[in-house]
């Protein structure tokens, strides 16, 4: 019974951070800050959403259905894939944006730009 409440709690947290990610995408001024909103909030959001699925799987397994293990283990693997691909993708987009000349809006400092001028 407690497991059900934990599942609802985790889903709530996950959905809240997903929503913040979406708001951030609209509010922030340029590609880099938007990537911050997209990666951060989506990662934390998807961690909690997948954790709620894992708990559901473990609960099903505990209650005697062996298919619960499939649900739990596959979701953990999906979470690992998200944690690896999410920063890699963000890194690739940011690098491509900077190489094609998109400057960070309102930047206080840009060490990378100086470095590119030197070359």
């Amino acid at each position: 019974m407690i497991a059900t409440y934990i599942i609802y709690l985790f889903m709530g947290i996950g959905i809240f951070f997903m929503l913040l990610g979406g708001i951030g995408l609209i509010r922030f001024p340029d590609v880099y800050t938007r990537l911050h909103a997209g990666t951060k909030c989506t990662t934390f959001g998807s961690i909690f959403l997948t954790l709620s699925v894992v708990i559901l799987g473990l609960k099903t397994w505990y209650l005697g259905d062996v298919n619960g293990s499939v649900l739990a283990i596959h979701t953990i693997i999906a979470l690992a894939a998200i944690l690896i691909t999410n920063p890699t993708g963000a890194h690739a987009i940011a690098r491509a944006a900077h190489r094609s000349g998109v400057k960070p809006v309102n930047a206080v400092v840009d060490d990378l730009e100086k470095e590119e001028k030197k070359k």
Binding site: G24, F28, T33, K40, C41, H91, P104, L112
Partner: protein, 173 residues
């Protein structure tokens, strides 16, 4: 030969991990799945042995994997949780002070710098944009640049990623 055995073993374990719930051996697997998994992992090990194991068996040490798990659930998770509350605050208030800074963590291996760059991207208001491949310096987009951090160049990595470089060095080097 050792590379072949290690690669096949890893493939086989992964296959077993993915096919739980198929039968009754040890409560989880069926005999068909185990036989097919063995066949496929031998085949995959034969093809990919030179890709999977490149230079050394450094990462085969279970102590490194244990340290990795400690890092993942300890300092990294705390850092990421803080990141999310910080970014959530900035999303709601719209207060940002962005900039790209250079940090010099002094990590030598490719795996180490990959791990550090990914950790930085997942933590408070920081996003790794580019890497200097000669010196393994990272260029980090920072959403809230602190004035005192800019006095020294390259910027002290303490401001950006705390104790991550120390952990990465213990895990991957």
């Amino acid at each position: 030969m050792l590379a072949f055995v290690v690669t096949s073993l890893v493939c086989f374990l992964t296959y077993l991990f993915l096919t739980t719930g198929s039968g009754s051996i040890a409560g989880l697997w069926s005999i068909e799945e185990i036989l097919l998994g063995l066949l496929l992992s031998l085949f995959a090990g034969f093809i990919s042995q030179n890709i999977f194991i490149k230079d050394s068996y450094r990462m085969a040490n279970p102590k490194r994997w244990l340290l990795f798990l400690v890092y993942l659930f300890g300092p990294f998770f705390i850092g990421m949780a803080k990141a999310n509350f910080d970014v959530a605050y900035r999303v709601i208030t719209g207060k940002i002070n962005p900039g790209i800074v250079r940090i010099s963590p002094g990590i030598k291996t490719d795996l180490g710098i990959t791990m550090l760059a990914n950790s930085i991207t997942l933590t408070p208001g920081t996003l790794s944009v580019d890497v200097d491949e000669k010196t393994n310096d990272l260029y980090v987009h920072w959403i809230n640049v602190k004035e005192e951090a800019l006095k020294k160049k390259p910027v002290d990595e303490r401001y950006i990623c705390g104790s991550f470089p120390k952990w990465v060095r213990r895990i991957a080097e």
